[in-house]
Subunit: 148 residues, 2 copies
DNA sequence: TCCATTTCTATTGATATCAATGTATTTAGT
DNA sequence: ACTAAATACATTGATATCAATAGAAATGGA
């Protein structure tokens, strides 16, 4: 006996259509592929581009605020820095004011890589802008910001 | 000599504020954490919940369409199925009509796990809905769909 | 039928992601 | 100054993600 616990197919369709988490994950994967493809000639992934761009500041930031800006776990940032350090694009140094902390900065070569990637970002982003209805991109950004 | 190639800080701020890819990745990470936390008592991550829900169909689907539905690489789906198979929640069988292919289905226990997770999804989603302005969630879904 | 092409999936290698945990350092309270 | 608590990162282990590649089976054209 024992009726097995079943979710109706109609519920499945409802969840698929309405789940915001699923929709965001889908879009995240699709956009990541799009930017990864575009940025490949520059030797960067979309995540590496965003991370390095966030390090292009007058003063080298510590890790915590950078992780918060990117809405990622601090351990994820530690891992993401590894390949960039290996390539000599990012420098991680001890914070003289707080020896627990690290300060992150782009190397000269890192800045050059980022500068070569920038026009690719611009054209890719313009392409997306063009494909979406006018104004929807700005609206989308606002809505997304409310989630993170 | 050689002036190093620098991107102005103002450009960095512009990219940070406008990059749709970054905004989507940020929201994706934040939402993933939120649902992962909520679903943890059910033993599922947000991705596993979405995948298993997409398998709750009258007829077991092959892998290709499932990967397309989730907008993920086919190799990602292969990997994502591994832990679910190990736990006995998903069954992967050869397609008798096409011996290259596989058919994916939930086991009885898988269906039970999914059924226990459903109320968690409902309450978590309702919580998000409540925190966002009226109507913005539906609009957001539409905009995201245009991207994937 | 035979063969080239296409389709469907798996494997490998690299990076991304987070939970759990540990270590070193700073801060705050006394 | 001393100590407990908080803070900033790193490490480990598991899963997620995709590119490149390879294998097997189906399909289509001659």
């Amino acid at each position: 006996m024992s009726n097995s616990i079943e979710i109706p197919f109609s519920t499945t369709l409802m969840v698929r259509d309405t789940c915001l988490c699923l929709h965001v994950q889908r879009a995240a994967r699709a956009l990541a592929r799009l930017f990864d493809d575009a940025l490949r000639p520059a030797g960067l992934t979309n995540g590496q581009f965003s991370l390095m761009m966030s390090l292009n500041r007058p003063e080298p930031p510590p890790m915590g605020p950078v992780a918060a800006l990117l809405a990622m776990d601090q351990t994820t940032l530690t891992a993401a820095l590894k390949p960039l350090q290996r390539k000599g694009w990012v420098k991680v140094m001890e914070n003289p004011r707080d020896r627990r902390g690290r300060l992150l900065s782009l190397t000269t070569e890192g800045k050059a890589v980022l500068a070569r990637a920038l026009p690719i970002w611009e054209s890719t982003h313009a392409m997306i802008d063009g494909k979406l209805p006018d104004g929807s991109v700005a609206r989308l950004r606002q809505d997304l910001q409310a989630l993170s």
